[in-house]
Symmetry: C2
Subunit: 309 residues, 2 copies
């Protein structure tokens, strides 16, 4: 197997009711690959940073089995920067600042070594860039998972739909599913979105869990009720990284294995929010992950024997 991730590697500055960070390392590809590294031995990433990106950040990624051959470093430019502030409920946030910097002209280049890609995770980026990566692969991967956000629905809906039609799994949140489909009911939204091309749809509902749909089935994974949510930044990407990392490790893309992958993704996301930024993900142990997955099993496990089972 080989897992390829594209997305931003960035600086974030975060304010939450629990405190405030200076510029810390973030970005979709960062969270996805750190999360996936708990399942696969190597994650290839295609992304771009500026000359201001610290060596310690690169080292941290390498130590987490992230291959950086596909990471362009533009010495005379600046890294993508996002700044946001969370409200008291931690579910809503305001963007305070977005500086595209190196992302403005990002042209994803695939190293030859990355052509063996079987699992492709398209982190949130312009849909045209996501499509360029799909088209740059000589062989279609076994599975393409795509994340996106409402921003592209507002300004590039046609390009977005075109890219969505090329992927196997689309991962978006509930509000985005409603915007993309024009349907309030998530069940109806899923029907319309699956008709756009993907075989599977994941609808992320933050603290309310995640739904996995195909044309016949629906699966629900709860979020773990946590005592404290410290910083939700990157939780969706961490979920996606756990999801595709688990699938890439097990090489099984059946619906029943995708259900397991959703649970592992949810478990990873539950760690992400416990500390600011990527801190909680950087040194996570296999034992901690297993314990957390147990908590998910206990959380939803019940035993009903029906006459006609």
């Amino acid at each position: 197997m080989s897992l390829l991730v594209i997305g931003s590697v960035a600086f974030d500055a975060i304010e939450s009711p629990f405190g405030k960070t200076d510029k810390i390392i973030g970005g979709a590809a960062t969270y996805i690959s750190l999360s996936a590294s708990n399942f696969v031995h190597k994650t290839n990433i295609v992304s771009v940073v500026g000359g201001d990106f610290p060596q310690t950040g690169l080292d941290m990624l390498k130590e987490n089995n992230v291959d950086l051959e596909g990471l362009q470093i533009k010495e005379n430019e600046k890294t993508f920067f996002w700044s946001g502030k969370y409200h008291n409920d931690m579910n809503t946030r305001d963007t305070l600042d977005t500086q595209l910097n190196v992302l403005e002209t990002f042209n994803p280049v695939l190293p030859n070594n990355y052509q063996d890609c079987e699992f492709l995770m398209l982190g949130n980026l312009a849909p045209a860039v996501q499509k360029q990566v799909i088209n740059g692969l000589h062989n279609r991967p076994k599975l393409i998972v795509m994340d996106t956000m409402n921003f592209w629905m507002d300004i590039a809906m046609d390009e977005l739909k075109s890219t969505i039609s090329m992927v196997d799994v689309l991962s978006i949140n509930d509000e985005e599913a409603r915007q993309l489909s024009g349907e309030y009911s998530l069940r109806r939204a899923a029907q319309k979105i699956l008709a756009m091309g993907p075989q599977y749809l994941i609808i992320k509902k933050g603290e309310h869990g995640a739904l996995l749909f195909d044309n016949n089935e629906v699966f629900f994974a709860p979020a773990l009720p946590l005592e404290e949510v410290f910083d939700p930044t990157g939780a969706g990407d961490t979920f996606a990284g756990g999801f595709i990392g688990y699938l890439a490790e097990t090489k099984d893309i059946s619906f029943s294995n995708m259900k397991r992958a959703v649970i592992y993704g949810s478990a990873m996301a539950s760690f992400c929010v416990e500390k600011f930024g990527t801190e909680r993900l950087e040194n996570l142990t296999a034992g901690e992950l297993e314990k957390r997955v147990h908590e998910f099993i206990d959380l939803v496990q019940f035993d009903i024997s029906l006459v006609n089972s």
Copy 2:
């Protein structure tokens, strides 16, 4: 076993994006007992209506195995009336009108036949009235489940806490749990509320499911993703009726059986919202219920084998 339910029997007038009703039959005791009737052979209710309450309403309750000996009919007064309007998201609503009428002076009287009560469901009413019913029973029931709402937290918090301290299971929604505990995190809210006396706490999250807590464990039951939610009125009471009805039928109040009861309650609530008022509950078949419970099993069932399981 014997199941006793107290709560309002009322008229509701409902507006939703799907339409508008005239005065239809509603009330906490109505929804609870209709829902419980799918599990037990007889439900005793203690409530009050006015002379304007139609015979057809009484007949409908009787046909659903509701014993009306404890239902006071005050010929010269009017039945409790509530009117509300749901917003487009169906999760929020405005109260348009509340006329207490007979409820203003409601003095619950327990028929002697009801003294064998083993399972007591205190539907939403003034906490002083709920307490009066507990004190009116010669023997403490095996299980007392209490529902309440934010209204009583606003105007009668001390009386409410006093009544809460006397029950085994408290059932409230997420906002009410936050208000009652002063904690935003539901996990922390649960700790504080369980310290007030109840052994178990159910936190209802509407379309996001329900959580069951005791001091050691937490269980999560999803809500079924529905194509259409027509009218959420009574969903919480229907949940409670299914929950206590299942427990009363099985006579098992262990945590693992309460988990099943939460699933049955959730299944009942999923029917309630499919039509206006009590319509969907009045003629529900055992086969429909079993099929629905199967959908809940399929929705959350996954199979992960961990090394240290």
